[in-house]
Every structure is written in structure tokens, then in C-alpha cells.
């Protein structure tokens, strides 16, 4: 970005976001910034609010207070402070600016791999069928599935389905990509092919916010790691710092020790 004010401010700016499901506080005053081109990974024990935070960023989940801005625009609500939801049309347009990849892929089973990618391009971006098809083929090529354009999701392996899921999200050319435990539902031998795709997107400068349990990947691919515990941000820093065994943060030390004990 050439604009100096834009360059200094974060692309994603989460401030003091809180959310409760009934009496359970799932997010407690969470703040988090992601700059353009950054890859930020959220780690933490299950139930710490990682996925909920991610789902708030594209407003699949509403939040009770605080503000989430993407490129300076408030997500979900008309203005920070008010709880007045944006219109359905506005929300849809906002969501088109964020890509999301899901743990359970959520491909549309009635559409081919190419059809899954083309749907948003034609309906939301207003591209013609042939333009959308070209874009779909381009992105399928990027994820190594050019030969599977006309396959239905049911004909693809889990790893292939998830790569189509990634292609569907990035084909919309979102400002930021949200990855929600995208390898958790995969057989171990299929994890690598999906992470390789994410890595190559990161190298191309795609801004990403991801939740993952793949610590080695988080360490190698992230600009920064956010450690969440009990619905709050407990630690933020570069991977080396956060994943160091001798960290002074006790919650984080326990989490990492448990993680190492179960994975090595």
C-alpha cells in the first residue's frame, strides 16, 4: 500500500471484543491486530475461544461488545459501540472481503470443484461463466488440482477437498484469509499437501489469520503467534518467543508441555 496512513494501521483490528454464550464468557476483551501480508496464528487449549474469535471476524458469530475493523471498516455492526447489525446485503458484501476455510471443508456437494469456486465469482463478483471458469481453473492449478476441475467433492480425498476449499476462498481475492483448524479433520498423511498450499499463499503475501494445532507449521509459517486461554489473549509474540520452552507465562508453559508430551 502506498498510502502512508494505511500502511501504518492494521488490516484487521480487533479491539476489546467480548462475547458470552449465556453465562459462559467465550471471549473476554480480546484485542489483536494483523498487518497486511502478515500470517498470524492463534493457538491455545480447546475451549479457549480461538474458533469463536475467527468466526467473529467474518460475522458468522455476533459479538456482545468491542469492535472489529477490516481495512478501517467496522464488521457486522453499523458503527462501533452500537449493536445495530448491518443489512443482509451489507453483511454479504463485507463477508466477500474475507475468505474462510473450514475444518470440515464444507464444499457444496452438488457442485464440481470448479463449480464450488465459480459460485461466488459469478453471484458475488459478477463475473461471466467463462471468466469464472478461467479463474477457477487458475486457482485449482495453484492448489495442484487442475485435473479435478470437473470432479464432485464426493470423488475427492479429504486433502483434495480441503485444497478446493482453499481455492474457493482465495479465488474471491479476499483481503484476509481465515483458516479454522483446516487440517484437523484430515488423515495425518494428507496434512502435508494442505499445509504446502497455505505456505505458498503466505509466500505470495496473502494476509492470514489461522487457528491450528500444527505447532511445527505455526512456528515456520507465522509472523506472530497469539496464545489464547480462557477466552482472552494470554501472550503474543514471534514464534521463537512464544514457543520457547522456558517462557515465563505459566499457562503457555503448561499448554506447550502438554502438547509436547502428546506429540513427541
Amino acid at each position: 500500500m502506498s498510502d502512508a496512513t494505511n500502511a501504518s494501521s492494521a488490516l484487521l483490528d480487533v479491539r476489546d471484543v467480548s462475547k458470552a454464550f449465556g453465562a459462559v464468557e467465550v471471549l473476554r476483551s480480546v484485542s489483536l491486530q494483523v498487518k497486511r501480508g502478515e500470517v498470524v496464528t492463534v493457538i491455545g487449549p480447546s475451549g479457549s475461544g480461538k474458533t469463536t474469535l475467527l468466526r467473529c471476524v467474518n460475522f458468522l458469530e455476533s459479538y456482545d461488545s468491542g469492535s472489529i475493523r477490516i481495512d478501517g471498516r467496522e464488521v457486522g455492526y453499523r458503527e462501533a459501540g452500537t449493536r445495530q447489525r448491518r443489512s443482509e446485503r451489507d453483511l454479504a458484501a463485507m463477508r466477500a472481503e474475507t475468505g474462510m476455510v473450514f475444518q470440515s471443508f464444507n464444499l457444496f456437494p452438488h457442485l464440481t470443484a470448479a463449480g464450488n469456486i465459480m459460485l461466488g465469482l459469478t453471484k458475488v463478483r459478477g463475473k461471466s461463466q467463462s471468466e469464472a471458469r478461467k479463474a477457477a481453473e487458475h486457482w485449482l492449478g495453484r492448489v495442484g488440482l487442475a485435473h479435478k476441475a470437473d470432479s464432485l467433492p464426493a470423488e475427492l480425498s479429504g486433502g483434495q477437498q480441503q485444497r478446493v476449499g482453499i481455492a474457493r476462498a482465495v479465488a474471491m481475492e479476499p483481503k484476509i484469509l481465515l483458516l479454522d483448524e483446516i487440517t484437523s479433520a484430515l488423515d495425518p498423511e494428507l496434512v502435508g499437501e494442505v499445509l504446502a498450499v497455505v505456505r505458498s499463499l503466505a509466500e505470495d503475501g496473502m494476509t492470514m489469520l489461522m487457528v491450528t494445532h500444527e505447532m511445527a507449521f505455526a512456528r515456520d509459517a507465522s509472523s506472530r503467534i497469539v496464545f489464547m486461554a480462557d477466552g482472552g489473549v494470554s501472550a503474543v509474540g514471534p514464534p521463537k518467543e512464544i514457543l520457547a520452552a522456558e517462557t515465563s507465562n505459566e499457562r503457555l508453559r503448561t499448554f506447550l508441555a502438554r502438547f509436547r508430551a502428546s506429540h513427541f
Partner: protein, 216 residues
Amino acid sequence: MLSQILYALPFLAQGFAVTLWVSLLVVVLSLIVGVLLGVGLVYGPAPLRWVVRIFSDTIRGIPILVLMFFVYYGLPATGLHLPSFWAAVLALTLFKTAQVVEYVRGAVASIPKGQSEAAMAIGLTFSQRLTSVIFPQAFRRFLPPWINGVTDAVKGSALVSLLGITDLMQAINQVIGRTYEAMPLYILGALIYFAVNYALSLASRRLERRFAFIRE
């Protein structure tokens, strides 16, 4: 005997046309209203959901014959006088609509939440999500019970004869009244109803195969 039946055929054909016309009206009207109310039942605001729920539960709990007599003989007390044909169509449509509502609700509810979320995430609006993602998938689950319901509607249309409408059933009864050939004429009637419904279920099977894109 054969000559008497042959002589009656044009009359029976007229009755059959009425049967088809009643069935078509009931099936099309109940499909339109039922899909709208069914979507309202799944996605609508609470008051709309209650109204649809009460409508559906009430109508499905009443014998269709009671409903038909109520509309024809009961409603005039409120000042609404319907000709027997339209009273019959209205009653059968109400009944069928309540069923369609349930088929739609069941079919839409069977689509995993992740499908809506994935559709939201790429920026589709509510109506785009319905038409491009939810309905194409729900259609396959909606189809078998609905076709079943269509055959029920064709068979059920015979009830309109009780309001004096000359459908196939009534025509057969009248011919029997003249000829006393009950056995062959009821067999003929049964064959005609059967032929229509068998054709429908064949068409349904073909459609289902065409939409069998999800392996389960």
C-alpha cells in the same frame, strides 16, 4: 357390456379431465404456498413460525373430508359462499399445503449448517444461499415424499365427488347407475388412477437418479 362401456367413454374422459384439473390445481397451489410457508417455518421470525406451526398441526390433524365439508357447508355461515369446485380445491389445497410445509422443513433442516456458513463466507445473500446452495441439495430429499404426496392428491381428488362434482369417480358412479356394470367400471376406474400414479412414480425415480449427486 362392452358396448355400454364404450358408449360411456367420452363421459368418463370428461370426468377424468376434471380429476386431472383438480389434482393439478391442488398440487401446484400447495407447492407454491407450502414452500413459502416451509421456508418461513425454518428461517422466519418467531411469530411467523408459530402461525405456520399451528396451521400445519391443525390441518394435518383433521380428516380431509371434514375439512372439505367445513369449507363447503360451514364457511357460508361467515358469508363466504364458494362454488363446490372451488370449495373442494381450497380444502384439498389446505390439506396438501400442510404436508408440503413439513416436507420442506424436513428437507431444508437436513442440510448441514456448514453449508449455509460456507455460502455466507463467500458473500452470498440469504436468497442466493437458498437458491444456489440450500434448495438444490434439499430438493433431493424433498422429492420422494412430495411425489408420494402428489399421488395421494390424485387419489384424494376422488373425494370431490362427494360435493357433487363430476370427476372420474362421480362419472363412474353415474355410469354404473345407468348400466349396473359395477365390477368392470370400478376396475376401469382403478386402472386409470393406477396408470396416472404409476407414471408419476416412474418419473420420480428418474428425477431422483438425476439428482443423486451426493453419495451417502
